[in-house]
């Protein structure tokens, strides 16, 4: 399992120092590594939409940030994206850990998981899904570049094919 390290290295190469997050067990693998690396500054959010505001403020000040959250938490961000990041053209990467697809044990994660891509599409936000280790480099590098050239948030979704699922019934 090298994906957490690969993802962090790509963030670093792109000068993305600030990580705003609400954790989940998948993102925790990235966050635990990032916490040991002085390059990154981590900000724990109480609710995901705060991250849209924080990253907007950081960008206005000349610093790049990434918002890490679960698909459930993306639902908490919709109006902040629609009324702040999109019209003011604030670019950043959203790294979204997908729930509700292959191997889901919790029925209450399925509806938001199913709505994730449709909501991104309705907002006009581009999104790309990581399913295999060998896709990470191209997809992450490309998504970050497109975010900053288009001056819009772009989502990269971590699927359960890549990160696995809980062994729980």
């Amino acid at each position: 399992m090298k994906w957490p390290e690969t993802i962090l290295n790509i963030l670093k190469e792109n000068g993305i120092r600030s990580i705003s997050f609400v954790p989940d067990s998948v993102l925790g693998k990235i966050l635990n590594l990032a916490a040991k690396d002085s390059f990154f500054e981590l900000s724990t959010l109480a609710r995901e939409e705060e991250g849209v505001g924080i990253i907007t403020g950081e960008y206005l000040g000349g610093r790049r940030g990434v918002l890490m959250m679960q698909s459930a938490g993306f639902g908490n961000c919709v109006n902040a994206l629609a009324s702040l990041a999109i019209p003011y053209q604030i670019p950043f990467l959203m790294l979204i850990s997908q729930r509700g697809e292959l191997g889901e044990f919790n029925p209450c994660h399925v509806p938001m998981g199913k709505a994730l891509r449709g909501t991104l599409d309705a907002l006009g936000l581009q999104h790309f899904t990581l399913r295999r280790e060998d896709e990470i480099e191209t997809t992450m590098q490309g998504a970050i570049k497109t975010a900053y050239t288009s001056e819009q948030p772009v989502a990269v979704i971590l699927s359960s094919e890549l990160v696995g699922w809980k062994n729980e019934k």
Partner: protein, 188 residues
Amino acid sequence: MINRLEATQYLLKHLSDEPIIASCGNPKFDLASAGDRRENFYMWNSMGMASSTGLGLALARPDKKVIILDGDGAILMNLNSLTTAASKSPPNLIHIIWDNRTYQITGGQPTHTAGKADLAQIARGAGFEKAFSVDTMEAFKQLLPEVLSKPGPWVVVAITDDCGAPGRPPKSPTYIKHRFMEALGSQR
């Protein structure tokens, strides 16, 4: 009770090039009326996000004192942001909340600060050590020099009337953004 426009004008007189994040609703109207400047970031919507955006800017730019002009309705929508800001505690953050105890822009329906909620106490509970409430212009004037000169983070809850301001800020979000970033010398 404080007149919000008068307090905003008084604040601007004591600033030079400090960036201001102004919430949607009346804080941005008062700020535009008191004086449009490149360092003003006006939010036309995204209710509640001024507190988080100001925090992000303060973290990215420790060289600048960052001022948030918020409203009671807006901060009540994002109270959790106070816990995040207090945890990060950037000393250059000044969060001013104009509290007129109503949703003024929608016709004056009472907010919860008209009932039992006390925003300065909430800020202290969130972890702000410097969170004060002022309800007269004299008290605001007395507190402001300390707020602008000593390390924070600060929360100042100013109890205001509900007079409206005549000014309107520029409306183009991208114009507001580019002008603001240029003024701050921010790399894109």
